[in-house]
């Protein structure tokens, strides 16, 4: 009973929030953000622990694996575009990873955060299942990493379109590569609004970031800490 009601509740809230988002056209009403806040408030008010919620939630969560695999499809249909821009994609993914790590380590150092929090930040731009493993391997706090990853994704999805406008980032390649390598899957899910070409560049950048991050994060952690 609980399983079904949590499932229906999640899907119901999500569809309502999606409707509201499309209708209002306000990027702050990004459905992941509003649905999450709504669900957390409801669960806290009804005194339902997260584990109980996940009895229903895990059925949705389970689809995340096949959904990541499904991203091979836009990669396949846009393969020529990807190969044509392979140099840009590869260099920009590497640049984004270096910039992301350097800037977060600098800021964390500037405000005086502890080493385990700094390490938890390192894989922040990488899709959550990979980031979780990396964080665990380099001595971060996995729960903090998941939080950072999700927030980095939501921030990209909300502010990405504003940045695109302000800084004239207006080609599918530049939009896709920037979002995929800074804000992984959540950011890339926003790119569905920009068409298949942008989406496929976004997913290929996300995938490359995950592979690169799995190699680079442990090296950086080993060198610096």
């Amino acid at each position: 009973m609980m399983t079904l009601s949590m499932l229906v509740l999640t899907i119901g809230i999500f569809y309502f929030m999606t409707w509201l988002y499309k209708r209002s056209n306000i990027s702050f009403l990004f459905p992941i953000l509003t649905s999450t806040i709504c669900l957390i408030v409801l669960l806290v008010l009804l005194d339902i622990p997260y584990d109980t919620y996940m009895e229903g939630g895990r059925w949705i969560n389970w689809l995340l694996g096949p959904a990541v695999v499904a991203m091979a499809y836009p990669l396949y249909t846009q393969w020529q575009t990807i190969m044509k821009n392979r140099k840009i994609i590869l260099s920009c993914v590497a640049i984004a990873m270096a910039t992301g790590m350097a800037s977060i380590l600098f800021l964390a150092w500037a405000v005086g955060l502890k080493t385990d929090v700094k390490l938890s930040y390192l894989p922040k731009s990488i899709t959550s299942p990979v980031a979780l493993q990396i964080s665990d391997a380099i001595g971060g706090i996995p729960q903090f990493t998941v939080f950072f990853v999700i927030v980095a994704g939501i921030l990209g999805a909300i502010f990405g379109p504003i940045i695109y406008r302000k800084f004239n980032i207006d080609s599918p390649v530049s939009r896709g590569v920037a979002m995929g390598s800074a804000s992984h899957g959540i950011g890339v899910s926003k790119l569905t609004e920009y068409g298949e070409k942008t989406l496929s560049i976004g997913s290929v950048s996300m995938t490359l970031s995950a592979i690169l991050g799995a190699i680079v994060c442990p090296i950086v952690a080993w060198l610096l800490f």
Partner: protein, 121 residues
Amino acid sequence: MKVIRIILQIGVLYLFTLIGTWIVDWTHLPLPGSIIGLLLLLICLLTGVIRESFIKDGAGFLISILTLLFIPATVGIMNYPELLSGYGILLVVILAISTLFTLTLTGKIAMRMEARQHDDT
């Protein structure tokens, strides 16, 4: 009919996730099974082992509900109420600066590289 096709095709995509997970278990690669599954499916599509029509509807459906799929994991933040304190806000602020700076810089560099590529050709 289309509903059944979508469900069956999601089954195929799940199979790739499973194979990816097995490969990760064997080889101890530091990547999740789904990323390996993605690469495998891409190879199968490019080499023609699997026809596009075999996964098209299932993949299209999952990608269209992608944002929904992240929600249960995101709700897990509720287990960390300390992140809602002043300390948590500080952590989010520096995360925001770093992430948005990275996004902007990468986008600008990509634009410039693209412009140069067009000049060359």
